[in-house]
Structures are given as structure tokens and as C-alpha cells.
């Protein structure tokens, strides 16, 4: 067991290293942002001075080495545009994204479970098709379109909700709705599939034959085993949640990591882009690691 953990940890570190290398080199492939960062009207000499002071004229390998040693000391560099340490900047924005992600997760999990269970119980009837269509809609409607629709209806036409911004509960409703819709459908479909699967198992028949109540069967035996594949895929879905958060934040002017990332890319703010990508990778790798370990703990029958 310990060997497995160490192995996975080692692999995770390798993955992180690979990501940082990939991002660093691709960013620097198209040249440095020195000219873009200086105000228009600056002379060539001034741009050169800036370039030199930022170390952009050194070799790529030197720059990467410099960056790597910094990272290992906890220094991920300073944002070119905000002149603040990127860790600080990211720290400021993370709560907003977390709030959005958690709200989306909460409502979508509850709704998804309900939809999925209804689907499974009334399998292959018109009810099933209806709930599946609803679930599909969540995955079919692009996050940004749903967000825009909500804005059109609730903000432009009804004037009930503000069209964006951060700070009050009413500003959270629409972004969380848009972001969670995809996740809700994914959970609904997964629960449905795995619940159907599980219900066909012998031990369910046995439980029924033993005279256990229906709900006991569903909750204690059916759901618990049905949830396993759901949990397994959380890692992948979380990555897509981050991606969805990106677009949601842009539409609703939500000051989170996603919006910061897009702005950083558009501003060629290399240190910031690198740090955010590393963070995203870290989160993903970390979650997958945790899930793999949880998996083993939850179901000892699974052999490694």
C-alpha cells in the first residue's frame, strides 16, 4: 500500500514537472512580451532596457532554470502586468472561483442525484426519457450560452438580477446555475447508469428476497456501490469544471482564477499564465491522487 502511494506521488511529481516544462517553453516560443508591456511611444532603447531587466534576453534554459529554482523556493515570480507576486494575485482570486465552484457543485450534485435516481427507477419509460433529456440539456447547452440566456431573461428583460459582478448573493445565482448545469447532467447520467447496473446484481435480489425495505435497498446497497464510478470520474469532471468556470467568469465578470487566466494569456503575462496552469495541474493531479486512494479505501475488494 505504501509502495503504491509513493509510486503515485512520484508519478504526480513527474507530471507536474512535465506540465511546467511544456508551458514554459510554449510561452517563450513566440518571443517575449517586453515590447507589448512598454507603453506605446517608448523608444527601442527603453524596450531593450526593460527586456534586459526582466531577463528576457538570456537563454531559455537559463530562464527556465531560474524559474524552477524560484518555484522550489515558493517564488513563482511577479506578474508582468500587476507587478504583484503571482501567488498573491492567485490567492486573491481563488476564493471567488471556489465560491462559484462549490455553489455549482452543491446544487448540481443534489439535482443530478435526484434526476439520476428518478431516471433509474423509471427506467425506459417516458419519465426516463424526459429526465434524460433534461440531463442532456445540461450537457448540451454550452456554459456560455446558458449564462447569456440567463442574463437575457433575468437581467435584461425582467431586471430581477444584476448582470455580473461579485459581492452579493444575487450576483452568485446565475453564474452558479450556468456552471453547474453540465455537472448536474453528468452526475445524473452516471448515477442512472451505475444504479441500473447495480440493481441488476444478485445481491440486490438477495436483499429483496430477505425482505428488506425498498429504500434500504436503494440507499444502503444500491447507491453506495453506484457512487463508486461517480467518485472515480470526479477528477476529470473537476478539470472541466475549472474550464467551465473560466467562461462563466468571463460572462459574469466574476473576479476569479479563470478570468485572470484569460486576461493573463491575452496580456502575455507569462509568469501569471505559468502559475495558473501549474495550479490547475496541481489541483487535477492532487484530486486524482486522493480519489485513487479513496477508491482503495472505500472498496477493499479492488485489488491494485
Amino acid at each position: 500500500m505504501l509502495r503504491y502511494i509513493l509510486q503515485r506521488l512520484g508519478q504526480s511529481v513527474l507530471v507536474m514537472f512535465g506540465v511546467s516544462l511544456l508551458i514554459f517553453y510554449s510561452l517563450h516560443l513566440t518571443g517575449d512580451p517586453a515590447a507589448v508591456m512598454m507603453p506605446p511611444g517608448s523608444s527601442q532603447q527603453e524596450i531593450e532596457n526593460f527586456r534586459h531587466s526582466m531577463g528576457f534576453d538570456r537563454s531559455l534554459i537559463w530562464q527556465y532554470w531560474h524559474y524552477l529554482t524560484g518555484v522550489l523556493h515558493g517564488d513563482l515570480g511577479e506578474s508582468l502586468r500587476y507587478s504583484q507576486p503571482v501567488t498573491e494575485l492567485i490567492g486573491q482570486r481563488v476564493p471567488a472561483t471556489l465560491l462559484l465552484a462549490v455553489s455549482a457543485l452543491l446544487w448540481s450534485t443534489v439535482a443530478g442525484l435526484l434526476l439520476g435516481i428518478v431516471s433509474a427507477l423509471y427506467q425506459n419509460t417516458a419519465w426516463d426519457l424526459l429526465s434524460r433529456l433534461l440531463a442532456f440539456s445540461g450537457q448540451a447547452i454550452p456554459v456560455f450560452w446558458l449564462g447569456l440566456l440567463l442574463i437575457i431573461v433575468f437581467s435584461l428583460n425582467l431586471r430581477w438580477l444584476p448582470s455580473g459582478g461579485y459581492g452579493s448573493a444575487s450576483q452568485l445565482i446565475m453564474p452558479a446555475l450556468s456552471l453547474g448545469a453540465y455537472y448536474m447532467s453528468a452526475i445524473a447520467r452516471l448515477i442512472r447508469a451505475s444504479l441500473i447496473d447495480v440493481m441488476q446484481q444478485d445481491y440486490i435480489r438477495t436483499a429483496r428476497a430477505k425482505g428488506l425495505s425498498a429504500w434500504r435497498i436503494v440507499v444502503r446497497h444500491g447507491l453506495r456501490n453506484a457512487l463508486i464510478p461517480v467518485i472515480t470520474v470526479q477528477g476529470m469532471y473537476f478539470a472541466s469544471l475549472l474550464g467551465g468556470a473560466l467562461v462563466t467568469e468571463i460572462i459574469f465578470a466574476w473576479p476569479g482564477i479563470g478570468r485572470l487566466a484569460v486576461q493573463a494569456i491575452q496580456n502575455r503575462d507569462f509568469p501569471l499564465v505559468q502559475a495558473i496552469v501549474l495550479l490547475a495541474a496541481l489541483v487535477f493531479v492532487g484530486i486524482n491522487l486522493i480519489i485513487d486512494l479513496l477508491y482503495v479505501v472505500l472498496n477493499p475488494r479492488i485489488r491494485l
Binding site: 507603453p39 511611444g41 491575452q266
Partner: protein, 524 residues
Amino acid sequence: MIERFSNAPTSFNSVNLSGGFTLGMTVMRIPAFKLASLALLVGLATPAAFASELVIAQTTSATAMDPGFLKESATLVDNLFDTLVLRDANMQLQPGLATRWKSLDDTTWEFTLRQGVKFSDGEPVNAQAVKFSIDRILDPANHAPTISYIRTIRSVEVTGDYQVKIHTSGPDPLLPTRMSRYPTYIVPPAYVTKVGAAEFARKPVGSGAYILQTFIPDEKVVMQANPDYWRGKPAIDTVTWRPIPEATARITALLTGEVQLVDSVPADLVPALKNKPGVHLEQVKNGGLTIYLGLKNDQKPLNDVRVRQALSLALNRTAYTRDLLHGFGTPTGTMAGPKDFGYDAIPAPAQDVAKAKSLLAEAGYPQGFTLKFQAPRRYIASADVAQAVVQDLAAIGVKAELEVPEWSVYTQQVAAQKQAPLYMLAWGSTQTLDADAALYPILHSGEPYSTVNSPELDALLNSSRTTVDPAKREKILQQIQQVVAVQQPLIPLYKEDSLYASADNVTFKGRADSRIPLFDLRLK
């Protein structure tokens, strides 16, 4: 009407539904509604209830508040700090922190400072502060990105408590103008030295009309009126700036009352404001950028002046501004703006397809030629104008292959001179209101954004920067524009208007220098 979508603050004291309320641990039996009405009365009676408030929506968000090290526009910082020289509503230079200034000789200017002005931390605004503020930008160790704006200043000399001499490295007729905009805002030496530049950028202290209260990057900036401001207490108590990059969201916020003033309204969204009660459009004619077609003068066939003239004559500028900019632009024949010093009112050439064709034939291209063309979608309808340009050029036989690159890709290409031989760009002089800023960087050989190499223009541009006598200088600047109109090293297209939208109860007059001086705003 200000509707604010915010939560009421929650507190440890609570009201329970049976009508009593809990203060800490003790339960008191005062009916809740009586208490509420009392609170309301008290609230209404205190002066705080009469605090006037303004919310402004902006396109870009402020990243830092250090006026010497800005990487973006100075709209916010302009209200927190002062400069030695001010610009009034008519764009004339007026005394600011300096009461008088004069040039002692070709390379020395003397400024006499206003006495009795203090920073909001109590420090005096004196000659030491001025020297400190400028030195920190000139210091090469600080890598100030804005150093180019004051590159002519060699040193600042303190000659009295309230007198400084500024030494320039050559004759600099623009020196007073430089002292009216960033980066020459005056900062408090003791405070900056104590907290350091990084902290100063987050918690600035200045002598301006407003004091920074809250600064949450990308979310909001809140400023409070400075009661001890040397020009008098500002009329509006609290101003909040909210960055809303998306135009529809900005305008929606105005329509719902969340904000009362919006900068940068795109021309094609103006119909959304029509017939909406309580809001109106504020138009500053020619207050925006000048859009032009850049040409790589050293490449065939653009190295032939007849070809360049032909390209210019093929274009129907009036149609662009009328149809694509909905009238919010004015065709122009020069890069300088009407409010700039040295402006020469050169009209845009009228479209003349026949002449264009004959010029091309004369230059040896009777069949026309093919050319790569790049235009960004960044400016008002610029991608659509680019397509109209393609159509107009096609009519004289020039096949322009249009590419619309993404803005960050494009800026990098342009700065590295890797753009297409024909490219669209915008330039302006809104901050200096001097033709030099609109001409020099895009016409002088060797400048990063210039694809022109003309010894004649270089000589004129150099002399415009060293001639101190305003009358002579004006003539030189006008001459430059006339040469440009004939030689067409680049092709000016039109000047954008700048459009603001505001609630009817806000008195705001848009300015040609794009500033939003809160001190001049009034709430009805």
C-alpha cells in the same frame, strides 16, 4: 435612482420573529418594528445618510496606483494625486501645484510651488516632494515603464522650499505639458520611503481631490472626498469605480441604475440608449484615437510615393464613418487631433478612383498588385472598416489579403515590426494634446512603431522637438503634417469620437484628454 444589489450586513444581534430582539445574551422585549423605525429615523437624521455617491463603470481595471509606474491609463490616479500643471475644461494649461513657471534658458525651467498644500498623511507638498517624485522615475534602477514620457528631464534641483529648477537635456518646449500628466504626479517622500513602492501602489497617499479607501483589483476601487483638498472639498462624497470590460454589461449596469457613468460606449450600441429614460449619451467629438493605415515604406511596391497616394485616393472614408461608425467618427487627413497644439486642419482626400488608377499605372502597376493586410478588431468597427478598405482597394486593382489577428498576437507583431506591409493601427495624442505625440513615434525612422524612413521627415521631427519658440514650433509641426499629406508614408483614415453614457442626474462633460476629473462632476 440608485438600486444596489447588496446584502444587508449580518450581525451578532438578531431579531426573532415573536417581536423581541436579542442583544448579546440578554433578551429585551422591545417590539422589533418600533426599533426599526427608530433606527430609520436616526439613520436619516445623521449627515452620513446624505452622503452623495457615484458609481462609474470602466472598461479596464486598475492594477496598481503608483502614478510613476503605471502600465495603464491614469484616469483613477488622476484623482488621487496632483501635478504641477493642470489642464482645464478647455484643455488650457493652468496652475496646479505650481503657481507659476517660466523657462530661464534653453535647458532650464523654474517652477514656483503653491504653499500650504498637504498630502493626506500630513506631509507638506514642497520642493523636496517634487524632486523625490521625479527622481524616482528617472532612476534607472527602478525600471519605470513611463520613463519615456519624461526622458528629456536631466535633473531636478531644489532652489527653495517652494521652488524647483528642472534641467532638461536639450530644449524641450513640451516640459510644462509633461508636468501636467503622468508620471509626474507628486508623491509623499516620507510615506513612499517608509512603506516601499510595492505597498505604495496598493495603498497610495496623495494630495488629490480624493483619498483611496478600498482597492480590490478587478473588482472595485472606492474613493472618498478629501475634505482638505486645496481647491475645496469635492461635491461628491464617495466614488466607486467598477471595471466592467464587456460593453453590454456596462450599459446594462447603467440602465438598471447600478452605475451612473460609463466610459467607452461602442458606436453600434448607441441605439440601446435611445429613448431610455434617465440616461443619455455624452459625445466628445474627435476625443478618441485616429485610425490609420500603416505602410512598410521600404517594401515594394509601397516604396513608390505614387502607389501610396493611389491607395489613399481609393478609399471612401466618408462611407466608413457614416455607415460603419454611425457618424461617430470624422474622416481626417492628419494624425494630429483638432485640440492638439500644432494641428493643421488637413482634410481627408476625397475618393478618386480614376486618379488612383492612373497613379498606379504611372508607377508601373496598371494591373494592380497583391498585398497582405492586417487589421485588428480592437477599435470601433475596425474589422468591418478593414473589409470595406479591401473592397475599395479591389476597385483599383489592388488585391488586399486581409487577416484579422487576435489583439495580443497583433500587438506583439507590430512591436517587433513583423506585421503585414499594409496594416491598420490607431494612435492618439489625447494625453499630451500636442501633435508631437501623434507624429513622432509613427513617423520617425528607428522608432519601434514606425515603418517610415524619410530623412526629410526625420529632420523636421527632430527640429520640432528642439525648437522652443511656440510659434516656430507650430509651423514646423504643421509642415510635417503637410509633408505627410503629400507623401502619404501612412494613410490617416478617421478620428473616432469618444462616447460616454451617464445618468441624467450626473453633470459630466467629456474631455478631449480622456480624463474623468471627479472634482468637476456634480450630482443633481
